[in-house]
Symmetry: C2
Subunit: 184 residues, 2 copies
Amino acid sequence: MDRTQSELESFVLGLVWQLGPCSAYDVRKALSDSPSSQWSGSAGAIYPLMSRLERRRLLASKEERNGKRARRSYRITPAGIGALRQWVGPPLGSDVATVVYDPLRSRARFLSACALEEQLRWVGEARLALEEVERRVRHWNTVYGDVMRDPFVRLVARHGELDLAMRRAWLRELETALRCSPEA
Amino acid sequence: MDRTQSELESFVLGLVWQLGPCSAYDVRKALSDSPSSQWSGSAGAIYPLMSRLERRRLLASKEERNGKRARRSYRITPAGIGALRQWVGPPLGSDVATVVYDPLRSRARFLSACALEEQLRWVGEARLALEEVERRVRHWNTVYGDVMRDPFVRLVARHGELDLAMRRAWLRELETALRCSPEA
DNA sequence: CCGCTCATGTAACTGGTTACATGATTTA
DNA sequence: TAAATCATGTAACCAGTTACATGAGCGG
């Protein structure tokens, strides 16, 4: 019962709970629409995963058929809700809170390897890239406005807002450091 | 030459550049000491990876021997520096800036599935977990103080600071939302 | 009727992980 | 002298990916 699940398995479990009865395809779309690129929502990941969750009795499915078109609709079981609660916590595992991985920051770490001109161009492109992310987040917020009635989903969106503001501020600091002391 | 490399391959290339001549073991330690849990620095990842980088002429190595103990010391080649610069950018790939994955936020999204009491406990544990992360970051800052002379490494550390401050603020918002409207 | 989206899946691959194995050196 | 760390690697595994295959339904 308390088999440890992968992060994606638990997240999908949560999605099915949150979306209500839905198909693997719906889950795939929710993942690929997400502004986070953590998971692509690839078919090769999702279909076998949801079958596994059904075998473990955390999801249940039924075939819906309108016309010739088949559609397997999943819903979460009581055991599934239990597993979801256990994953969400408390207690929180020791690895739940960590320094998140930011590819932009990773690259910034090695900016000294580049010439000043490149560094300035880098900052400019990084700002544009962050603005693009901002647009994607805003788009998600409008499309998924309905699930936003959940106060915690709203807070997750708020997290995205705060995160982007923080990264913009950080980039400004980087830029001023660059302009004031061109010695790197 | 412009073979696309994995994120870890490029990051290791950067580490060797930043640390100066060093062994695979040094790289492993740098990765496992890092407060980010993105990469474990497992032997099974690093040793084959650095061999690959050497085959591609991005790293060069020589066997150092003091007593019976062998130690393979790697340094970055000019081609390696070129590859590093190319990875760092500009130009920045479209996937470089993204909404980062935060397991804490992922779990928060489904907090409505838990009872109010659990939600309050969750917030408390999350705060403790973030404080633990803060301690790990501070420890890293003291241990790796020498590479901190690089202004961009300093800015990466600064990013960690800002990130933690942001997440603490977000958690406070979550908590007040919880205390004011206990309806979730 | 062509192309797009809906819908479900499989096969091959990949970039990591854990666990194991070995042996030298250092420290308590 | 026992335990920890230094140091190098391999083997088995695993959770994702891309790419492929198939077919229904729908809008231009």
